[in-house]
Amino acid sequence: MATTARGGGEREPAAGSGGGGGAAAEMEVEAYRRLFPVAYFERHLRESVRLDARPLASPRDTSVALGLVGSADGSALVKFGDTTMVAAIKLEVMTPPAESSDEGSVAVDFYMPPICSPTVRPGRSAEVAPVISKQLSDVIMSSGMINLKDLCLINGKASWIAYLDIYCLNADGSLFDAALVSAVAAFTHCIDDGRVVTVPGELEGKTKLPLVNKDKRKLMLNNVPFSLTCGLHKEHILVDPTAEEESIIETFVTVVLDTLGRVVSVYKPGGSVLAYTSILKECITLAKRRAQQLRNILNESVSAMEVDKSS
């Protein structure tokens, strides 16, 4: 596979290209992969496979596990191939601000600790972390997944604030997608643990809402968003890129769809490949398929959870 060193849009020393089979044949595959990543990558693309032998339009194996963090009110661990995300939700009671006295709130934060990637050093957080964090909170709010009024306990006096923290344990591409699935999974698992709320000035021990004392209730989710990131490289659309592919491809399109089929977000931050309507339509089709897949995986893990609980 590494025998012919083709141009591939990258300057190569004469040893690689001139000698035909000669010098390049002696070079090992791994060395070629490190020295000429673009050429190596395009050699694969010509055969319509990717570096890990996936077809172009197929995402990596996805697994979702719920409830791993015992002390959190809701948690999930999601793996997309090697990319691993842990999401945890803690519910706390807060006093809602005057202008939204009947609403709770959700605070989303995304962390990339140094464990996730050799490029992240302690003390200097990764550049993408605040961007993904902002994107996540935008998507969660604009999809309307959580009705903030559900989080209200006592109008004007107490409501829930859900602190959603997502930690990336292994950054191997498609960070936003994995983070979104982990956030959604954590919310499906999130259980209000029936804390008693006392309001100053009221009778002690009794709250106005029997709900809080009674059975643990789950958060109702509607319009759950699912996303798909595609890389665009010279006419090819690659679904769910890994970190190695992300270093070669410069252009990405992230499409977020919800259960109603609405487009929650089409996010394409720059990139040398221009996105024409045909490409966008194809990305949206791929995203629909992926959303269906993710929904099935999520439902399976939720029902597996419930089986475990009841048994």
Binding site: K134, G261, R262, V264, G271, L274, Y276, S278, I279
Partner: protein
């Protein structure tokens, strides 16, 4: 349908320090947009003869601005017939949108109609210490961008075989938070796609963006300002980028260039960046493989709010048509001062 648009006209005798903006919504001899067939090429008069070969917008002799330091150049529209920067919109788009707006009884607060943008101004070479600078305003949204030309060295993680671009976004008030980091990243990636990165390897170009006023459509204004500042600094570019903000209301009608108040009322709004339509050379490659011309591709798309898929593509169409008009404005503004 009387689609008129507001473009700033600068009186050529205006005091250079205080440009006056004249919004001229009802120019009597303005031909109507609906009379122009969609498929025709932009009906602007031929561009004035270029005195220097590098005024295609991409290259500018960097030492020129040293000679012209005292001249603050402003964009102006001298010819009324050039006000036919028209909304070359497909008639059916116009009809459905107009009908939708009328049915809703919705008029925009500042009296514009759905396809009208706020007056645009672009001035360059304002900051004498910076290698390039530009100030772009759309109504009350004003952004000042400064470019410090290629400096030696790149940051640790970046590829030394290419030039790198560093963006610093300064908000008008408040601390720097996640929103500013996101804007920085989007702006950086957008500018990376228009610059010729291989012409100055192992250098860093800094773009500093200062928000002077924010009344909606902030990111597109910043992108336009940065692009003009890069031209002012003489950084080699592949093509220019024009950015536009479109809003989609619940009824499905699209409005252009919403203000902050309008953005909050809309079901969804999005920022779109298109490449500047090329005038002279036909690009090979991209346009032959897709059936769409070069300038219909999107460089950047950032959306807020959920919308039906059809609504997104409607906004794209409207954004493309408007970007043709803005790119005309940008080209004219850059050429006027080029000499």
């Amino acid at each position: 349908f009387p689609v008129v648009e507001g473009v700033s006209i600068h009186n050529r005798f205006t005091n250079l320090k205080a440009p006056t903006l004249i919004l001229n919504p009802s120019v009597p001899n303005l031909p109507r947009a609906s009379e122009k067939p969609f498929a025709s090429s932009p009906p602007t008069p031929p561009t004035p003869p270029l005195r220097s070969p590098s005024s295609s917008g991409a290259l500018r002799n960097p030492s020129k601005h040293l000679l012209e330091k005292e001249k603050v150049s402003e964009s102006r529209v001298s010819n009324l017939s050039q006000l036919a920067l028209l909304w070359i919109l497909p008639p059916y788009c116009l009809l459905s949108n107009w009908a939708g707006m009328r049915a809703m009884g919705m008029d925009r607060l500042d009296g514009r109609n759905a396809n009208q943008m706020r007056p645009l101004t672009c001035s360059r070479n304002l900051l004498h210490r910076a290698h390039g600078s530009a100030r772009w305003s759309q109504g009350d949204t004003i952004v000042l961008a400064a470019v410090y030309g290629p400096k030696a060295g790149t940051r640790k993680g970046d590829d030394p075989e290419k030039a790198s671009i560093e963006v610093i976004w300064k908000p008008k008030t408040g601390q720097i938070g996640k929103q500013e980091k996101e804007y920085e990243m989007i702006l950086k990636r957008t500018l990376q796609s228009i610059c010729l990165l291989t012409s100055h390897p192992n250098t860093t170009t800094s773009v500093i963006v200062q928000v002077v006023g924010d009344d909606g459509s902030l990111l597109p204004c910043a992108i336009n300002a940065s692009c003009a500042a890069l031209v002012d600094a003489g950084i080699p570019l592949k093509h220019l980028a024009v950015a536009i903000c479109c809003g989609l209301s619940e009824t499905g009608s699209v409005i252009l260039d919403p203000t902050k108040v309008e953005e909050q009322k809309m079901q969804a709004f999005m920022h779109l960046v298109f490449p500047n339509s090329p005038l002279a050379v036909l690009p090979e490659g991209s346009s032959s493989k897709h059936d769409e011309p070069f300038e219909h591709g999107i460089i950047t798309s950032v959306t807020h709010g959920a919308m039906p898929e059809r609504g997104y593509f409607n906004c794209l169409d409207r954004g493309r048509a408007a970007s043709a008009a803005i790119s005309e404005f940008l080209r004219r503004s850059l050429q006027k001062d080029g000499s």
